[in-house]
Symmetry: C2
Subunit: 428 residues, 2 copies
Amino acid sequence: MGETLKLGLLGLGTVGSGVPLILKEHQEKISQVTGMNISISKALVRDTKEKQTLANDYDFSLTTNYEELIQDEEIQIIVELIGKIEPARSYIIRALESGKHVVTANKDLLAQHGNELVEVARKNHCDLYYEASVAGGIPILRTIANSLAADNIHKVLGIINGTTNYMLTKMVSDQLTYEEALDQAQALGFAESDPTNDVDGIDAAYKMVILTQFAFGMNVSIKDIETSGIRGLALEDISMAQQLGYTLKLIGSSEVKEDSVSVEVAPVMVPNNHPLAAVRDEMNAVFVSSSGVGESMYYGPGAGAKPTATSVVSDIITIAKNIRLKTTGRLFNSYKSQTKLTKDEDIYSKYYFSIDVPDKPGQFLKLTQIVTESGVSFDQLIQQQSDGKRARIIVITHEMTKAQSKKVVEVISNVEEFKLLATYKVLE
Amino acid sequence: MGETLKLGLLGLGTVGSGVPLILKEHQEKISQVTGMNISISKALVRDTKEKQTLANDYDFSLTTNYEELIQDEEIQIIVELIGKIEPARSYIIRALESGKHVVTANKDLLAQHGNELVEVARKNHCDLYYEASVAGGIPILRTIANSLAADNIHKVLGIINGTTNYMLTKMVSDQLTYEEALDQAQALGFAESDPTNDVDGIDAAYKMVILTQFAFGMNVSIKDIETSGIRGLALEDISMAQQLGYTLKLIGSSEVKEDSVSVEVAPVMVPNNHPLAAVRDEMNAVFVSSSGVGESMYYGPGAGAKPTATSVVSDIITIAKNIRLKTTGRLFNSYKSQTKLTKDEDIYSKYYFSIDVPDKPGQFLKLTQIVTESGVSFDQLIQQQSDGKRARIIVITHEMTKAQSKKVVEVISNVEEFKLLATYKVLE
C-alpha cells in the first residue's frame, strides 16, 4: 500500500463532511480494492474557522482560495460538493483543464451543463464521475452504463425525490393533508424551508435529464420535460387511489418509442402490485423496463450524508482503479443517440380525472358526453359522496394519447359548472 | 468498427440459445459501447443436427469436439453454459490455460470450485466473469464489487430462487397448498420434474456461497450453510403469517458479526412493510444492509433465457472493454477476508414456532413453562381454532440466539404430546 491518492474537496456541508467519514470508516476495504491509500489533502470552504475541528479530526487542511487546490500537483482528484451552478461549474472546468479528475454529486449542474463538462473532461483526458447526482445511494448510473449495456432499455420510471415520497407516504399511512405532511418533512429536515424544487418536481426533472442520457443516450433539456409536482395534492385523491388499488407516487418517467423519447415528472397512480408502490418514506427507486432483462428495480436511500458520500467514494474508487490501470479519460456514459422528442399524439396512457360538479341531475350524462366526444372511452366512472351542493366524479379512462388527455382537460375546463381537480396518469 | 471479437459457446440450451439472440438484437448498442463487433464463431453441442437451424440463423458453426474451439486462435472468449460440474470445470480450466477468457453462469460450479477456477484465471492472466450465476438478470455481483466497494456490508438477504418464490406467492394469493403450487410451477416450466434443488433450498445455498464471497470476501462452503427449503410448508403457516402482518419467503441470508459470518437458507417471516415482502411471483431480489448506503435492494428476474443471456452478454462486454484497454486478468471480486463462522450463541433473531398440541386444559401453561425454562421470552402467543382433539399454538419469541432456538426445538420435540410443525426466523 505504498501509493497515496490525494483529493481536494470543495465544500464541507452535509455530504462534504460525509466523505472524510466514509473514507476513514471503510479505509481498509478501500485500500484492499484499489491498492492505494486515499486521503483528503485540502478542502475549500467559505469559513475556515467553522470547519477547523472537522479538518483536524480527519487530518486535512482548509483554504478559502481555490487556486491553492489547483496549484497543488499532488491533488489528482477534485470532489465538488458545493452544489448549484456557479462557482461549481467554473471550478470543475478549471480542475479538468488542470488535468485533475472530478467527482461531483451536482444534479442541477449536470442536467444543465453536463454536455459542456463531459466535453471538457474528454478534451483533457480526465475522468468525470457523478453517480451520486441521481438517487443518492443507489448505483443506478453505473448499473445502466455497465450492466445494462448489453440491453435495450425502453422505459425508466423513478421515485427519485425522497421529500415528496416521504410526504405521499405519510398522506397515505397517517391520512395527513398536504400541508401537514410538508410540515412534518420540514421538521425532520427532509424538506427545505422553500420546498419548491422538491414539491414542484424540479429536482426530479434534473435527475430525469441525467437518467435519460444514460438510458437512451439522448440529451433532453429541462424545458423538454413536462413537470408537475405534488403541491396541494388532495387527500381525497390519495384515498380514492387507495380504494381503487393504486398508490399515488411522484414518478419521473422516460420512455422511448421507436427513435424518440418522452420525459415527464408527475404524480402517477401506481398499481399496488407494482414494485414501485412498495417504495415508502424517503426511499428512492428506479424501475427499468428493457428488452433483455425485462423488469428490474434498484432501491435505496436517495439522499443523506452517508449514502451520498458512499456513492461519491465509489466514484473516487473507480478513478483510483483507472489511474492504476492507466485507463483514465473514458466517458462515464459512452452511449449516444440522436435526440428526438415523441409527439403527444404518440404517447399512450390511461388517465384518472377528478372533477367537481354541481350535485344535481344530469351531470354524469353531461360529463360522459363531453368525454366521449373527445374520442375517449371509460374504464371506470365513480360518483363520490357529496355535500348536497357539489359532488366529486372520478373518471378512469382506457388508454389514450397525451394529446387526447390535453383535449379532455381543455373541454372539461370550458364547462363553467365543472371544476377539474386533478389529472393523473394511471400505470398498468 | 473494424475489430471483431469472437466467442466460442459451450451449450445451446435455454440460456445458450439466448446469447446469439441478445447479441443480435442489441448489436448496435454493443458495438457503440465496446467499439467492437462481437460474434459467436462456433458452438459446442452434443448433437449438431438438432441445433443446425439455430446455427444457420445466427451464422456460426457447430462442433461436438471441444478441442476445435481451443485450437481456434481467433476465439478469445469461451462462454460456458452447459451447467453442472463436469465437463464444465475441465472445459473452463482448459480455456483459461489456453489464454482464453471465460464467462459462465454456472452457480453449482462457482460455489464448489470457484477458488480453483479463480486461481487458474489469475495464473493465466485471463478474465473470469460469472454475473449470471446469481439472480439471473440482476447485476448484483458487479454492484457489490464496484459500487459497494466504498461501503461495509453487514447483511445480505436474498430471494434468489424464482421457483420457490413463485410457489409461495401462489400459496398466499390463491390459497394453494404446497402440492398444488408445485404442480403449477412445474406446468409453467419454473420447476423441474425433480424439484429437489429448488424446494430444498440447495440452489439458493449455492448462490449464497457466491454472494458471501463478494459481500464479505469470505469463502464458505455449501456444508457451512444451514439449509432448509419450503418442502411441505403448511398453508396454515402461510395464512397465519399473513394475519400477523408477515409474508413467508425463502430467504438466503449472509450476515457478518465482527469478524465472522453466518450463512443460512430458510423460510423467514418478512414484515409486510419490508421491501422483500413485495417481491412476487418468480422475481428475485437481493437486499443489502451496509454502514454507508444503509439499505438498498436490487430486484429483477432470477432466471429465464433472455435475462440470463443479457447478464452473460454484459460480462462479455466487460471483457471486450478490458481487451481494448489491455486490462484483462483482474479478478471479478478482489475483496478478501479471513473466513470464520459465527457461533450459534452469537446469532440473534426472533422466532416463530407452530406447535400441534392436544386440545385439553393446561397445554398453554405447559408450553409456556418449557419455553421460559429455555430462557426465552414471548412476544406473541396465539391459540388457533381446534377440531376438538388437537389445537395449534403459535409462538413468536423475542430475540434469542440460534443456540437457544435449537434448545427450544429440542425441548418441545421431547414432549410426547406436542408436535413441532414449523420453526421460522422472524425478520424485523
